[in-house]
Each structure stands twice: as C-alpha cells, then as structure tokens.
Amino acid sequence: MAVLKKKITNRIRILRALVVVLLAIYALNLFSMQILRKQLFTSEAERISLQSTRIPAPRGEIYDRTGRVVLAGNIEAYSVYITPSELPATKRESVILLLSKLLNISAEDIESKLPTGRLTSYGRVAVAKNASLSAISEIAAHIDEFPGVSWTSQPLRDYADLRSLSNTIGYVGSITRDEYKLFYNKGYTLEDLTGKAGIELIYEDLLKGKDGWIAKAVDVHGKDISRNKARIEAPEPGKRLILSIDSNIQKIAEDALGKRQGSVVVLKPATGEILAMATYPYYDSRVFMSDNAGQEYLKLLNDPQKPMLNRAYQSSYPPASTFKTVLSTAILEEGFISPDKTIYCSGEINYGGRSWSCWIKKPGHGAVDLKNALAQSCDIYYWTVGRDYIGVENIVSYAQDYGYGKLTGIDLPGENPGLLPTPTWKEEKYNDSWTPGDTMNLSIGQGYMLASPLQVANMMAMIVNGGVIYKPHVLKEIRDPGTGALINEVQPEVLQKSSISEKTFETMRSLLRGVIVYGTARAPISTKAVQIAGKTGTGEIGLKDRWHSWFASFGPYDAPAKDQIVVVTMIEASNPWEWWGPYAANVIYQAIYAGQDAKTAAATVGVKLDGIAVGGRRE
C-alpha cells in the first residue's frame, strides 16, 4: 500500500476540494445561464447577430516623376459575392447560371470559387470583382431570384495603358492561401488584393493602406437593428508613390525599341534614378483586373517569348564588346600595356589549336593601339592584351569594380545577377581548370560572362560619375494620398565606389567618344541634337547571321555628370538582324534632346522605326 506523508494527504485533500469547487462553480454558472437567464438568451438567439462590413482602403496611386501622369489609380467597381450557406442547394445551379450570363464569367469559374463540402462559416465568396453597374441593377431588381447573392462597391486597381511599364509596375491579384497565412497578422482578409509583381509587389506595405469597418447588429433577416449608431472605423488609403520614370522618355524608348525582343534602360547616373525601362514583349497589367485573370496569367506564363520578364534587369546576356570598356580601364589605370603600343590585327590568330577570327575577318584592322582598338572594337587586340598582359584575375577585379556578377539592388523583384566567371568558379562548376582560351573569351565579353542591361548601364554610370555607381531605383518619392505632401524622398545611395583614378575615367570618356566620332558607331549615331559617347556590342550566341546587338552610351558628352543620362539598348539575336542597338539609341537621343517624339526623331535622323536593312555584321 502506498505510504503517504500526512502533509501530502492534506495537500491531496486541498486539490480535491479545488476540483470540486471548480465543478460546482461551473454548474452554478450553467444554472444561472440556462435556468435563471434562459429567456434573455432565447430571445437573443432568435433576434440578434452581428454583422461587420469591410470598407476596403483604396490602394496607393502610382505616378510618374512629374507627379502628373497617373500610372496606377483606382476606380469604383462592383464585387459580387455568394454566401454559400444562404444559397439553397435546389437553387444553386440556376443562380450560378444566371450569374454567369449577367457577369460574363463561365459557370465553371463561379462553381470553382465556391467551397465544396462543409460550410464552416457564414462567410461570403467573391465571384466577380469587376461587375458592371447594369449587371448589379439587374441583380438588385430581381433579388428574389438570387438568394445568397450580394454585392459591394469597392475601389479596384485601374492601370493606365502602361505598355512595357507593366513589367515594371506589376499588377495586383487576389490573395493566395499562402500569402494569407503570411499576411494574416497584418490584417489581410481573403477578399484582399495583393501586389504580385514589380512595384506593386515590392512596395505592397506602402500601397496597401488599412481597411475600415462598419459593425452593426442585424436580425436573422439581415435587417439593421443597431440601437445606437453603427461603429465605423474609417479606412486609411495607401501611400502615393512617385516613380523616377519619365513617361515621355519611357514612350520614346518603347517606340525606339519597337516590336523587337529586347530592352532599353535610361538612367540618371548622378542619382541612380531609372528614367525609362522598356522591354519587349510585355504584358498588360489591366488583364489581371479582368474576371478571367487566371486564364490570362496562364497564357502569359506559357508564352515562349516570356512576356512576363522585364528584360532590362531580369535577363542576362553576354555583354560582348561593351565589356572591352572594362579591359580598357584596366590598361589605362595600371599600364599593363602602353596605350600607344600597337598590336597587329590580321583578322585572324591561331591559339590553342584553333583559329580565332576578329569580327572584321581578313585582312583585319592592321596595327591598332588602345584608342583605335576600342573604337574599332578589335577582338584580336583585346584577346592578346587580356591573355598576355592583363590576366584573368585583373580582368575579374576590374569587372567587379564595375559591379558585374552582383545584384544592382534595384527596388524591383526578381533581379538577375548575371555571371562573372572566375577560375575558382569554373573549377567548382565544371570541375575543370581555367584556360587561356577562357581568358580570351572573357576579354571580349563572351564565353561564360553574362550581364543584364541594367548592369551595363551601371558601368556607363560609373564612367560618367568618375568612380561611383548609385543604386538604381524606380521609386522617387512617397507622398500622402490625400494632400500629396511629401513623406519621404528616396536619396541616392552609393552602390559601388571604385579607387580607379578620375584621370582614367576622363580618358575612358574620350575613348568612348571616339567610338562615335571615328569608330564602329559612326554611321548609326548620326544625331546632331546631342554629342554622345558609347560602345557597341555584338553578342555571338552561335547563330550564323544573327547576333545580340548592344549599345551602351552616355551623353551629353562633356556636360556635368548631373546633367547626363545613360542609355543602354539591347536587342536580342532572336530578331531579324538589323544592328538595331545603336540605331535605337540614336533615335532615343535625338528625340530626347530635340524634344521630338520617336517617330519624328527617326525621320530626322533618317531611319525607319519598323526596320532597316543591314547587310551582315557591322561590328
């Protein structure tokens, strides 16, 4: 038998007494509720229920840098809901059919939104978010035929015709189950929209705002029986965002790019502000606001041309000859070879048991020094100096100075960091050692090397700024949604600072000017509106008669850095060969500095926007 100390026995008594008291209190409380106050609760149960209605907060508006062009605003739209528990099974089919006709959505779509199986709450399900007023009037007039159907008017995202800005601004969509779990504590409901891409996604917290509520007591028929006034909590609209995008330049860039797969970046090197970011093909943010957004999304997702990509920062390509800028900087800074020393280009050299031909083929460029090699984009010069004078470690080091192989940290989601290959990287990735041939490929921006157009733009920015790259950004200001008062202004943030001397950059600027004056870009850059400097690039991707066409540039040449802009154009090899990179840039500069639209500008400089014929490789 158990031996319990007297003390413990006493304690057990106390515990037992506690449990008995607990049961007694609960029983008494039940007695009070169920016997003494039964009437009160019975009438309450028959009468009352509390209903709270959400007043959705309007999402923050998005403007271009002028603060005058609305890129994303809101319109009042009608959402139609079904409360499944109020929809009798016998009428379910007919109601869904009627709704599908009125709202122009397929019956299957409506059916798929309704929960199957157990109906755990009196919640309602949104079946349409963008119903017309006439549809709502029709429902209201015949409400008897629509049991369980209700509607609200709520602000809906309204995008301007954004064209390729869609890929920067993004779009909103219904909150997903996973997002809901994540955002639950931020007060999101299942009826909410959240940013899914671009600015809408990155600045969700600023744009969202805070929903308001009206709480009122209703009887079983839904009649308002509040004794006092309904409790109202006013919604707080989301913040107004001013982007750094200049609608005018954006349009010029898009028109200059035209229907060519590729992208254009225009940025302000002195601050890192993106003035324009054109990409093609693009999607239309507005399709995500229609009621069959799901199908549209799938269509876009499965499109082999990948219109959801923003090619300016989400794609990377071999930077090709634009990369010769990096080697030129290295030569000027450290004198790996005297800039005046010439190397003879016969159009072809043999190395490692294979023949390497310069883009110009035989008889080649002849004897070229640095200045001419960059202007003429001589491959043989850079192969030789890269392999024999500079070496891969130094090339990599200078490329890192320019920000290659790293994220630029732009305030947009899904950035592509590109790839800066190194001997260690190759060892790890391919378990193979770095060869001098790899160095030669890297020297002309080919081989494993990959960079996004935005990274190439940053390289030009560093040259303009004389050693600093400011973090590229699209957001310029945060403003109060009501008064428009400035809340926060995005300040330039140094992304990359180089110890390369100002003198080197100064020489680089003049060498890049040479590319236009007496080099490869002499013919295509014909604008008289502004003097520019830049570098062409023609990327080999294994096709015989098509190449990636790059043009990385800045201007006005010799203006103070704060007045200059950087323009990078990148036309993919998938397009018919037109060498369009420099031509597009030519049109863009002409239009911006002559105050013309792209079409007039093209006419002024004598090209057709919809295509020109260029025979073979010109760089």
Partner: protein
Amino acid sequence: MNLQSLRRLFGNIDYYLLIATILLCAIGIAAIYSSGVDAEGRLVSNEYVKQLVWFVIGFFLLAGAALFDFSRFKDTSWIFFAIAIALLVLTRVAGRVVNGARAWIGIGGFGIQPAEFAKIATVLMLGRYLDSAEYDSSFKKLVMTGLILSLPLMLILIQPDFGSALVFFPAALIMLTLADVDFRYILFGVISILGIFLFLSLPLYAANHYSQDNILNVIIAKTDILVLIFVIILFIAVIAGVGWLKFKKRYYYWLSYAFAILAFSIAGAFAAHKLLKPYQIERLLVFIDPSIDPRGSGWNILQSITAIGSGGFWGKGYLQGSHSHARYIPQQSTDFIFSIIAEEFGFFGCLVLFALYAIIFIRCFVLIETSKDRFSQYIVGGILGIFAFHFMINVGMAMGIMPVTGIPLYFISYGGSAMWSSLISIGILTGISARRYSA
C-alpha cells in the same frame, strides 16, 4: 506476462474510469454529428465518422498503454520524452501551418499534433525525475522541473500554441505538490508566471485601450528607465534578503520574496518581449482580452453564450440546437463543442457531462491515494492536471468566463491527436490502477 497475471489485470481494471471515458467519447461523437448538420437539417460534414475511427484506433492505444507497465519500466521515460521533443523539432522544421500555427506534422492527409503527445511524455519524464529526487531540496526540484518543462514549452510556444503550452503548468503544479515541494516555492513559480504574462500584456493592453503615448508605454519604450526600475526592485529584494539573514524577522523574508517575484517577472517579460515576434504578442493579448477583437474571438464567445443560455433545463433536443446549426460559431466541433451540447441537452445534459468528468477526476484522486509507488502518483497527478485544466479552460471559454484558447475538450472535441493522447492517458491510468495491488 502469463495468463494468470493477465487475468488479474483484467480483474482489477477500473471499470468506472473506462465506462465514463467511453460515455464521454460517445457523447462527443453524437455532438460532432450534430455540429455537422446545417440549419436546414442537411448533414454537411463527415467529421463524426473520422472521430469514430479515431476512437476505435484510440481504444487500441488505450489497451496498449494499459498493458505497458510504466512504473516497472520508468527508466524508459526519457525515450518517450526524447521522441516527443524530436517530433516537436520536426514539426518546427517540416510542419504544416493550420490556423496560423505550425503545429501539425504528417504525410498527405494524415497528421498529428505532437504537442498533444508531448504533454504525456513530459509528465512521464517529470514523474521519473521527481521519483528519483525524493531527497532533493525543494529549490532543486523546482529548478529541475523548470528545465524539463522549458524544452517542450519553448517548442510549443514558437508554433505558436499558447493554449497547449499553458497545460504544462497545472500538470507540473500538481506533481510538485505531490512531491512535497515547499508551498512557498510553488507560489513563487505561479505568481512569477502570472507576473510575466501581466507585464508582457499590460503595455499592449494600455496601448490598445488608451492612446499610444500613455505614461506606461512611454516608460516601457525607454529601456534605460526599465533597467533602472529593475535594478531598484532587485536591490530592495537583496537588501531585504540580507536583512532577513541578519535579523531573522519574517517581515524581511516576505519583503524579499515579493520583490524577487517582481524582479523575476519584469526580467522574464522583458526577455519574452525580445524573443517573441510582435504578432505573437498580439495573439497573446487577444487571449487575455477578447474584447479587443470583437469581430473575431469576441463574437464567437457572444454566440457561444447565447447558444448555451438558450438551451434551458432539458435543452432543445438532439439536432434541434437552432443557434448552433445556424453556424454562427466557427470551430463548432472543436473549440466550441460544449455550446452545442449545452444547447441541445440543456442543463441536465451538462450535469451528466460534469458527472462523467467528476468520475474521472475522483478516480484519479483515489489512484493517487492508493497507488503503490511515488512514480505512479506523480503520473496520475500530472494527467489529472492536464484533464482538469482542459476541462476548466474549454468549458469556461464556451461559457465566457475563461479566455479564448484553442484547446480541446478532451474525449469530446473533434480531433485525432487529442482523442489519442487522452485515451493513452486513460490507458496509463487503467494500467496503474490494475497493478496497484500486485507486488
């Protein structure tokens, strides 16, 4: 185990306990069936079938637990504890998020809530320790108990599941009471924990009910002032402690005691504030004061109370609970199962339910007084603590006199893990009771 001992085992089974358990589970399944019927009388849920299946499987688990002689193999307790901890860690890493908490682990549609089983495993582990520590000081017992509890407690708190985490305290409290720990220590622990909750929630409560810059929040926002207050309180506690040692006056002892609790609570609250994420503290606040969330939990309580009160003496009759069937109450089959029973079976039905629970509680007390070893006493005490706490919180919540925590009413609420862990607990009790007369 030979045939004779098996026969003796069956002869000594506590049939009161078993019959009460089976009746409670039957009531539960009936209530779950009822909760699956909508206002128009259609059955829209098959939860009751699942519950029935879980009950049948759970009964085998009960039998298994009864056949395993825990007190003879008490040295294996740590294995169960280790498995429970491993499952909790696994849940943290690979668990599924349901209702905002990462508390589930499983494959496909099948899953368990390890926290439910961790309760039993922790009781076993703690029982084993207290059994081996008969001659340790009260202080050491308290510290060791704290250490053993802290591991599962922390893992469950980060899920986050405050309700389940709380259950450990009454279990440990009863076990410590049985282990002859000085009441002053127990009191110290209880008040400190309440203090931590108080200091953690007070500033939030103030911010919610008054303006953001009320005096309390202003003070709390300044860490150096907080540290100063803490140092002063600690200083008083130490000075009073020294005074007590020197003058042996009771007055000094209790002064030191009170201020030590205060210092401990403030430090604990500060640490918890740093460790917990803001949203976790917010949930804690809703737990303490449901009225700040009138559309959420507050609404549920109002509906639950209305359903219970409208039941009357005899109830509205099975499947006739109009308020419950109108689905005003979410989690009708789990958290708020009591309200549907109270609405349909009335005061009379509730008294029957209470009586069945009372039988289980009383059998636990009888077992504590008659079981043959201390280890068994501790285990029974711990299980009693878990059962009584679940009952108190869940029924109290449905009646609106306890805060809303999602902890189930054992045997009744829909849910496989709770069903199994409660039936395993009953199995352990049955086993202990059947063996109490054997040598």
